[in-house]
Symmetry: C2
Subunit: 162 residues, 2 copies
């Protein structure tokens, strides 16, 4: 299990944050015999540059700059891999992607998406979710995946533009 980093909206030493996240992914890949190939790593590193969501085509630009594939399927396959293994999450409201900062496997995290700075924080899966899941189950519905996204404005942006 990867460690949880600081929140996207907290001030923090990001180069350390990024290194730690990358190291954690490398370790998990080693442990699980997964291949963090050049395009996959390039996409992951781009996402680790900040806590901002990036679109597939923004990421594709990075691949192109890196001399890797320049066509959409390349980035989508890299993203498929990263999402499938929980290293990256898709933000549905944005059709965009963020690096996972939270570590634990197939959790149902809540994403706080700031519309000002476009950063995304992955809030820890709260106990509060259970009642939601119970409610669904009581109706006979089997939940396989949960998407919880809150769009709003983060503390820092609220202070800057009150």
């Amino acid at each position: 299990m990867r460690p949880s980093g600081p929140g996207a909206f907290e001030r923090h030493d990001h180069s350390r944050c990024r290194e730690a996240a990358l190291a954690a992914v490398l370790q998990e890949c080693a442990a699980q015999r997964l291949r963090l190939t050049p395009p996959r790593r390039c996409v992951l590193e781009a996402l680790l540059e900040g806590h901002k969501a990036m679109t597939a085509y923004e990421l594709l630009d990075r691949l192109r700059e890196a001399g890797l594939g320049s066509q959409p399927p390349v980035v989508y396959r890299a993203l498929d891999f990263l999402v499938e293994h929980g290293f990256v999450h898709r933000i549905e409201r944005l059709s965009a992607f963020v690096a996972c900062t939270h570590g634990e496997g197939q959790h149902s995290a809540m994403f706080l998406v700031c519309r000002e700075c476009h950063r995304v924080e992955e809030a820890a899966s709260p106990v509060a979710l259970n009642p939601l899941e119970d409610q669904a189950r009581n109706q006979g519905f089997r939940i396989d995946r949960m998407t919880i996204e809150a769009e709003g404005v983060c503390g820092g942006c609220l202070e800057r533009a009150p």
Copy 2:
């Protein structure tokens, strides 16, 4: 405030369900001086045919068949109106739309999306959400909109394909 209908996954008299929903929207439009123009009504009625999510282009086909606009902006504008006023919701995971069955204004509903029958049930905004919102607020984040979507299999489909 519009009344809540039966759940999408419950057996029910749908023609009655649909009539009631349409009547409720008409009434609300009258009350709020909103214009349910032909394309808007056509889109709404298509969505009220069932509890299934429909894509913008499926809805556009209905507009075309009805002799209304045949180009994407027409359906997107109708959807903008219907979503803005809470008559229709967008299901992010599907890039698709469902009629609102739940009535209350800007609630944060949870959508149960069945991957077998493609029906979508709008579960009532649960008290359980408050802790999620509190958690965000405690971090200084101001939530403006909440998206909660559960993908899985509904009771009926679970019985049919166990």
